[in-house]
Each structure stands twice: as structure tokens, then as C-alpha cells.
């Protein structure tokens, strides 16, 4: 059913259609609207039977999900940013215990400096946590990927994180085709756990494993992740059959045919990038876009095929490793390592800085002129950087960069003439 609806509300409705039995969360911007809406659906009885539990931390939220999932209940939670870090020990534990929890990550920057706005630092911090990570480009994808996520998680007995850009998607009111309950039921059978706590058949879950078997356990988890690369396209096809619209799968391509420059990105910025690509195509530049939906496991061979024929690849990513470089770029570089494709990393949109069509067009222009550095930062205020570097070198006023940068603005005004207090 087509509705003009806020992304968070749409995701809440979609999650409710998936009939989670235990929903537990701790509020953090920009995830709040999702869990508030699910809370209402549970209170009104529209989502039943379901236990909605308010807890004292994200660590507890993931832990409740772990307990519920291990007892055979379909469990859902949502978080962002610091919340994900605060629950991180349990995030790894959930995947290690092979519990098919589904979690929405309303992507947000990680502090310090504290920042509530969107980027992908949180998702990247969890990219090695053993979870499947799916990135939504639109609110329609966010909705559809949640339905897919429950099915995928439960088939593979692996937790799935659905990443949607905080505020940019969660707070955007757009047209969304909400899934009908009957179709969701047709796509998503009741949760049949591989193993669960049951007095009739007692098992011990979470026992210690020593050096004699730990590596094997980890490799088995890796192989189950790789199974997802086969399963996701199949499930996407099944989704299309049932819902009558395509679902995002591993990767999506846009105007890549004949493209010598291809932009790779994750999430909602792909929309802006496509607009920019249309502009550049009109101007004669042969550019295209590859959007990564499935970031973990990384669809290496699909990315390699999608990039085949390109002379250079521009990875625009909303996160980076200080002292290293891009995160997504690393995976893309590995995917094209056997070719002579040049991979450029453009870090953009950190801490909610808008990525504009014009900004992307300027990146593509630089790429066309062969002027793109291996690592660059979009719309960077170099004056601030230079001033701060000079200050640190002169050691005139100590303090962290973040504090000093704030202190620098507004520019100092002349002291009023008069006696000091």
C-alpha cells in the first residue's frame, strides 16, 4: 500500500509485519522514532503477541535480544552510533552464538566530538562483528530489506543489521509502498530456530571453546556468511515474486554500461550521486554508479563484474579510518586487485555534512581531468585545518583539536576598553 510516510514509521510498520516476538531497545537519536512507533503498535495490540521492553542501556537491549532469540523468539532491536559501540561486546556475542537477531542501525557519526548527525562510522566499526550488513538507499529499500533480513537471518542463523542513514532516511517523509501482512507472511515463515533453550531437550549454549576448535568455529561462521552471497539474490527474486517489486540484493548498478569512471557508494547518498551522474552524462562524461546493498559479507565477485570495463573507480564513503583511509575502498580495491583499475577514495558527509549534487559533480569533474588524489575529502575547509596544524606546531594553546576548533569560532573580538574585572 502506497503511503506518504516517515522512514522510521515505515520501518516500524514493516518490522511489525514481520511479527517480532520480543522488541527491546534503548533510545538514541536518530533511531528513536522507529522504536517509539513499534512501542505504540505493541501497546495498541496491532503487534501481538510481542513483548516490548524498555531497558537501561544498549548493552542490555542487545543482551535481552540474545536471551529472547536463544529461547526461540524472533527478536528485534535498533540503535545508532554510540549505542552500537556501547552494545558492541554483545553484538559480537550475538553473531558468535549464531542468533538471528535483526537490528536497524540508524547510521550516525561516532564522537568525540559528539555529533548526532549521519555518517557511516558506526556501521564500519561493526563491519567485523560477524553480522550481515545491508545498506538501504531509500526508505522503500529500508522497508523491504527488513523483511528480507528476518528471512535471511533465520535461514542462516546469523544476525542481520539493516543500515539506514540517520535523519536523511529515518526522518524523511517520502512515498513508500508498505508491505501487506499477507505477503509478508507468505515470504517469512514463523521462526524455526536451529537450536534453542527448551527444558524438554536441555542444551548448553555459549560454552567455552579453546584453541583446539576456536578457529574452526570462526571459519564455519565465515562460510555461513558467504552462503548469504548465494542466498540473498535468491531471496530477492522470491521477494519480487511475492511483493511485485524488486528488492535490493547484493549490488545495484546505474548507467555503468560504457562507463570509464564508476562511483561506488553505500546508502542514501546514491540518490544524489545518480542525479550528479545524469548531469555528467549530459555533459558527455562516461560515468556510472555501483551501489553496495550487501556490505557484509562483501560481494567481491559481483563488485568485480560490476566494475569491469571501468578505468577508474571513485569510492565516495561516509567514513574513514584515521591513519588509514577508506573502509569500503579497501574492499573495493581487493575486488579489482587483478586489474589496473585505479581506486580513489573520496571521504564525504562526515558528521552530517551535506553531500550535494554539485559536490559530487565536482568530484566527477576532477576524476575526468585525472586530478583525483588517492584519498581526498569533499568540501573540506582547509583554512581550519591549516590554522589548527599551525597552532599545534606552535603549541601556543594546548587542548584537543575539536575543542580548539570550536574555540577558534567566532573570531576573537577586541576586548572592550576598561578595567579588568
Amino acid at each position: 500500500m502506497l503511503q506518504q510516510i516517515e522512514g522510521s514509521q515505515a520501518v516500524a510498520r514493516a518490522v511489525a509485519c514481520c511479527r517480532p516476538e520480543v522488541v527491546c531497545a534503548y533510545p538514541i537519536s536518530p533511531q528513536t522514532h522507529i522504536i517509539e512507533a513499534i512501542g505504540v503498535l505493541v501497546r495498541t495490540g496491532e503487534l501481538a503477541p510481542c513483548e516490548f521492553i524498555n531497558v537501561e542501556s544498549e548493552f542490555a537491549a542487545m543482551s535481552v535480544s540474545i536471551g529472547a532469540s536463544a529461547t526461540g523468539a524472533r527478536a528485534y532491536t535498533a540503535t545508532a552510533s554510540q549505542g552500537l559501540l556501547y552494545m558492541m561486546e554483545a553484538v559480537h556475542n550475538a553473531s558468535g552464538l549464531e542468533l538471528p537477531i535483526v537490528m536497524t542501525l540508524a547510521n550516525r557519526a561516532i564522537g568525540a566530538p559528539i555529533n548526532i548527525w549521519n555518517d557511516h562510522s558506526d556501521a564500519m566499526a561493526a563491519s567485523d562483528a560477524g553480522w550481515i550488513q545491508l545498506f538501504a538507499e531509500t526508505n522503500q529499500e529500508a522497508v523491504d530489506l527488513h523483511v528480507l533480513a528476518f528471512r535471511l537471518a533465520e535461514e542462516l542463523s546469523l544476525p542481520v543489521m539493516v543500515c539506514m542513514d540517520g535523519f536523511v532516511l529515518t526522518h524523511a517523509v517520502e512515498q513508500v509502498d508498505l508491505p501487506e501482512q499477507g505477503r509478508v507472511d507468505a515470504f517469512l515463515p514463523p521462526y524455526a530456530p536451529h537450536q534453542f533453550l527448551d527444558p524438554a531437550d536441555p542444551v548448553s549454549i555459549g560454552a567455552m571453546v579453546g584453541p583446539e576448535a576456536f578457529e574452526e568455529v570462526k571459519v564455519l561462521a565465515h562460510l555461513r556468511q558467504l552462503d548469504a552471497l548465494d542466498r540473498i539474490p535468491e531471496l530477492a527474486a522470491e521477494f519480487e515474486e511475492i511483493f511485485g517489486r524488486p528488492s535490493a540484493g547484493l549490488v545495484g548498478t546505474y548507467r555503468t554500461e560504457g562507463a570509464d569512471t564508476i562511483v561506488v557508494a553505500l546508502g542514501s547518498v546514491l540518490g544524489t550521486i545518480k542525479d550528479a551522474v545524469d548531469e555528467r552524462r549530459r555533459a558527455g562524461q562516461r560515468v556510472g554508479v555501483v551501489g553496495i546493498t550487501t556490505f557484509r559479507p562483501f560481494p567481491t565477485s559481483e563488485v568485480r563484474s560490476a566494475l569491469a570495463g571501468a578505468r577508474q573507480v571513485v569510492v565516495i564513503e561516509k567514513a574513514f579510518r584515521a591513519g588509514g583511509g577508506g573502509v569500503l575502498s579497501g574492499d573495493v580495491t581487493l575486488a579489482v586487485q587483478d586489474s589496473d583499475v585505479g581506486v580513489h577514495t573520496v571521504v564525504a558527509g562526515l558528521g552530517g555534512r551535506p553531500i550535494t549534487r554539485r559536490g559530487v559533480e565536482s568530484v566527477l569533474g576532477s576524476a575526468a581531468r585525472g586530478e583525483l588524489e588517492p584519498l581526498s575529502f569533499l568540501d573540506l575547509d582547509n583554512a581550519v585545518i591549516e590554522h589548527e596544524r599551525a597552532r599545534v606546531l606552535s603549541a601556543s594553546s594546548p587542548g584537543p583539536d575539536g575543542t580548539a576548533t570550536v574555540r577558534r569560532r567566532p573570531p576573537p573580538v577586541a576586548s572592550p576598553v576598561g578595567e579588568a574585572p
Binding site: D165, F167, V173, E174, V269, G271, P354
Partner: protein, 202 residues
């Protein structure tokens, strides 16, 4: 694509205004996107919301830097915030005030725009009259519909009634209609003035 930027203060329904506008456009079969300026603003702080309307799917999610129309819900922002940044000379501007642009100290600014595209509308007074609370957002949308012709009053009234349940919805829809009529009257009067002003030159 038609892009609207709405300025106001936290608590004035700035975000809801953009949502309602997008819902009205959706109801008319068009694509629309509404979103707030993302911040941690408290009650009373300046806030911004955005709405895009198009006949085809909207892909971009960047903030609206160059709006086709501007709605100012709180005239006290006029000299505090860069309200008019990125505004082209043919843009629409609707300011919630019972004063004129001259009265707001914006006479020179207003002269830059195409005649008939700048209006003030006493939306708070209308809201107090029809809704009983000083929440000008619905009324201003009525004024916006009349000023720009980009959305029908019927779709707007429907969206308002969907957004606010029961009598609150009805009252806000009435405020929107009153503002719509006010702006239509103002525009007619403005045209008359323009005709009068132009007459000697002809």
C-alpha cells in the same frame, strides 16, 4: 522539481508543515519528500524543514539550498537567521506576520522579487481565531497554496485532517482555508494596486 524551505522555531510545527505539504502533494499523485533540518534544537530555537515536490521520483536527499519558495513561520527570525539564502528573484516568499514587509524592515529586500510573489499573512492571528492556539503552520500552508498555486486547497485540507485527528484537524483545515482566502484577496488587491500604480505611466 519545486523546492520549499520552511523556517520557524522549535514547537511551531515547522517539521509538521513540511510533512503536511508532502502528504498533500502525494495525495495529488505527485512525488514529494519532506524532511527536517537535523539538529538537537530545543523549543524556541530556529529550525528549518524542507519539502520537494516533483512529477517523478525524487532521488536526492541533500538539504534545499536554493528554494523555489520560502515560508517563514516566525517573523522574529527575519533579522536573526539567514532566511533568504539561495533565494532566486522569482521565488515565492510567505511571511507570517500582521505587518507589511515595510513594517518588518524588509522593503528594500522585497523590491528585489517579482511582484505578487512576496506576501505577508497573519497566520498566527488566524490560528488563534480558528484553532485557539498560536500554531501558524496549517494556516501558512493555506496561504502557500494560494500564493504559489502548487497545491490544491482540497488536498491540503485533506492532509491536515489526516495529520491532526478530530476537531484539531477540522480547525486547522479551517485556518488554512481562511489564510487561502486572505492571500487570494491580498493578491487581488495587490494586482489592483499594481494596476493603479502602473496607470500613470501607461
Amino acid at each position: 522539481m519545486f523546492q520549499v524551505r520552511i523556517h520557524g522555531r522549535g514547537g511551531q510545527g515547522v517539521v509538521a508543515a513540511a510533512e503536511i505539504l508532502s502528504m498533500a502533494a502525494f495525495d495529488e499523485g505527485r512525488f514529494a519528500q519532506a524532511f527536517p533540518s537535523f539538529g538537537s534544537e530545543r523549543m524556541g530555537a530556529p529550525v528549518v524543514s524542507y519539502c520537494r515536490i516533483d512529477d517523478r521520483p525524487i532521488r536526492t536527499h541533500e538539504p534545499i539550498a536554493e528554494p523555489d519558495a520560502l515560508i517563514v513561520q516566525d517573523p522574529t527570525l527575519v533579522h536573526q537567521v539567514d532566511l533568504f539564502g539561495g533565494l532566486a528573484d522569482d521565488a515565492y516568499v510567505l511571511v507570517n506576520t500582521s505587518k507589511s514587509f515595510e513594517g518588518l524592515g524588509l522593503a528594500e529586500f522585497a523590491s528585489r522579487f517579482r511582484p505578487g510573489r512576496l506576501l505577508t499573512c497573519p497566520a498566527t492571528a488566524l490560528a488563534l481565531e480558528y484553532v485557539g492556539r498560536p500554531l501558524p503552520n496549517a494556516a501558512l500552508l493555506g496561504g502557500f497554496a494560494a500564493l504559489t498555486g502548487r497545491i490544491s486547497l482540497d488536498a491540503l485540507e485533506k492532509a491536515i485532517s489526516e495529520r491532526f485527528a478530530g476537531v484539531v484537524g477540522t480547525a486547522n483545515a479551517a485556518a488554512a482555508r481562511a489564510a487561502f482566502e486572505f492571500v487570494v484577496d491580498e493578491a487581488r488587491a495587490g494586482q489592483d494596486r499594481e494596476v493603479v500604480a502602473r496607470a500613470p505611466a501607461d
